[in-house]
Amino acid sequence: MGEFLEFRDVAKAFGRIQAVDGVTLEIRKGEFYSLLGPSGCGKTTMLRIAAGFETPDRGRVFLDGQDITDLPPNRRRVNTIFQSYALFPHLSVRDNIAFGLEIAKRPKDEIRRDVGAMLRLIQMEDQAGKKPGQLSGGQKQRVAVARALVNKPQVLLLDEPLAALDLKLRQRMLIELDMIHDEVGITFLYVTHDQGEAMSLSDRIAVMDQGRIEQIGTSAEIYEAPRTSFVAAFIGDTNFLESEVADCVDGEYCRLRISGFPDVVAYNDKGIRPGQPVFLSVRPEKIRISRDRPQADPRMNIAPAKVEDVIYLGPTTKYWVRAGDHRVLVLRQHFRFFLDEKPIRWKDDVWIWWHGDDGFMLEGFRKGDEKLVAAPPQKVGEE
């Protein structure tokens, strides 16, 4: 199936702020599609353009082949779940859900039937008479979902729908949303700043920053093969290593010079040429750490390091180690913490190593993206 909801070179500015800057997206029918990015990246503006609350300065929006750019919100077959839910406080749960059907002047018995079916779907039949003010956060969220879905929209727009919920409830609603998507089979456009939400739900994710698309792909593609420093740093944690390309062997692998490291091998997926300065991104969990030197391997990058910080997190431990001029984050899952003969401690001399396929050379490196990776403060004046 081809594209169903399509943004073609859409741009929107608010005063001097360019909220969306020439975005093209093609969302397939039935897809769970996420717009992921930090606050102010333009993702909510994209959603509001899809809903009809904003008119783009440039570009067109198509829904099922029809140009909907200039249609008012009430004439689009899309419905929105608002971050604040925006339930009508003066109406009961039942009347909230029936709102769209009543506006559409559907027959009374049909409204009663459809609203009843929705109440069953969200398991709130016994709460139908309550007002929104009497509901808990999770219940409000369910009512908002039902109020939108009952109109059988072609696309459901979700604006950070879980942001107002606490962690455990968020995890449960995540599963419920996924089930609802499977059940109704309509297209979801999901806006969030939470990578966990986006990655666990989405068929595809578009990562946005400063009004532009940084990368589009499945969760795994975006996490495992980030194309830009922003994607690498925003999704999960990573290490950025400033390097210069020494030579590239038949275009497959490159040898990099990084100060403080022996020559580093990296898979060349971008056709990078010798002499170019690049930044290498290596995810912390791809790096292994040990007090013993590992066996040499031409594809492995091995370097000596000194442990500067150890943060025990339960299932994993974070090690901040110094290798040459670089502070490198290593994430290690431990299986038998107290049984390991000698856990790695602060100030230990260790070896770190990672496979050449696990480092990604990034061309478009922006210095500011380093700040997205949370690092403990440097200890000044310490050996």
Binding site: F53, N74, T80, S84, F99, K131
Partner: protein, 288 residues
């Protein structure tokens, strides 16, 4: 217990004020209505219900009906103008909002009496409004703009409009306009969203606006006196006439009692309706 005491102490000044200057005078008016007048403009001895019975005269029914009708029309027009204004002001950017509110309040800087006199010269047969209307062919030179019911309602609307705009604005300002977006998203046309979501959302402001316009309108005296004609007299004018011209205080008191009851009726009705609607609710509101 301590809080209760504090509450009592804090309310005593306003309570005493209302007792002395509102409740006592009102009771005096009630009592006066049952005393006979004396020929010199004073109060006679003894008690009588003759004054009250006299109010049943046809003449008073006409005036009472006109008072009610003119006040209701004024309130309706004020509401019709204040709703879109309040909506627009609440949606305006903060800077423009202050400017617009200023414009609503600016008329108060001039004495009410002077503003009513200004209307007299505006609507005067030789005044600018009349001339323009005649020039545009919208009125014949004979059409009277002044000294009729229309003039009374026009000037009353002008007078009370800010009192309708302010409470509606105050309610609209607290209103969550995302609800209007939600309604539009669910298929409502702009006016449907206004009627089904915005209006119920600012109900309290609308109720306040109605009371704050209707009640003083019922007691209007200056406006019908200055821009109304003999056929647009309201109860307020009759009361003034009984006091200043006839020097018949009991009669004026009896009319005042009728007016007070007329004012109390809508107030009590609205309070009663609200009490009925607001069943005790368990509120589980959690932030935002």
């Amino acid at each position: 217990m301590k809080k209760k005491l504090q509450e009592i102490v804090l309310t005593i000044p306003s309570f005493v004020w209302l007792l002395l200057f509102f409740l006592v005078p009102t009771l005096l008016v009630f009592i006066l209505a049952f005393r006979p007048p004396d020929p010199f403009g004073g109060i006679g001895a003894g008690w009588t219900t003759a004054t009250i019975r006299e109010l049943a005269r046809h003449q008073y029914w006409v005036i009472a009906w006109r008072t009610l009708w003119a006040s209701a029309v004024t309130t309706a027009i004020c509401l019709a103008l204040a709703l879109p204004t309040g909506y627009a002001v609440a949606r305006a950017s903060p800077r423009r909002r202050n400017l617009l509110l200023m414009m609503v309040i600016v008329p108060f800087w001039t004495s009410f009496l002077i503003r009513v006199f200004a209307w007299r010269s505006l609507l005067h047969p030789e005044g600018p409004v009349k001339k323009i209307l005649v020039l545009l062919g919208l009125a014949s030179p004979q059409t009277p703009l002044l000294y009729n019911n229309a003039a009374v309602i026009l000037v009353m609307t002008y007078t009370f409009l800010p009192f309708a705009i302010l409470p509606i604005y105050a309610a609209a300002e607290k209103f969550d306009f995302r609800l209007v977006e939600a309604a539009r998203d669910l298929g409502a046309r702009p006016f449907q969203a206004f009627r089904k979501v915005f209006l119920p959302g600012i109900r309290q402001g609308v109720v306040t606006a109605v009371l704050i316009v209707l009640i003083p309108a019922l007691g209007s005296y200056v406006v019908p006196d200055l821009v109304g004609g003999p056929s647009s007299e309201m109860l307020g004018n009759k009361i003034a006439q009984r006091v200043f011209v006839d020097r018949n205080l009991p009669h004026a008191s009896a009319l005042s009692v009728v007016l007070i009851l007329a004012v109390l009726a809508p107030l009590l009705a609205i309070l009663f309706l609200q009490r009925k609607k607001e069943k005790p609710e368990i509120i589980l509101e959690e932030g935002g």
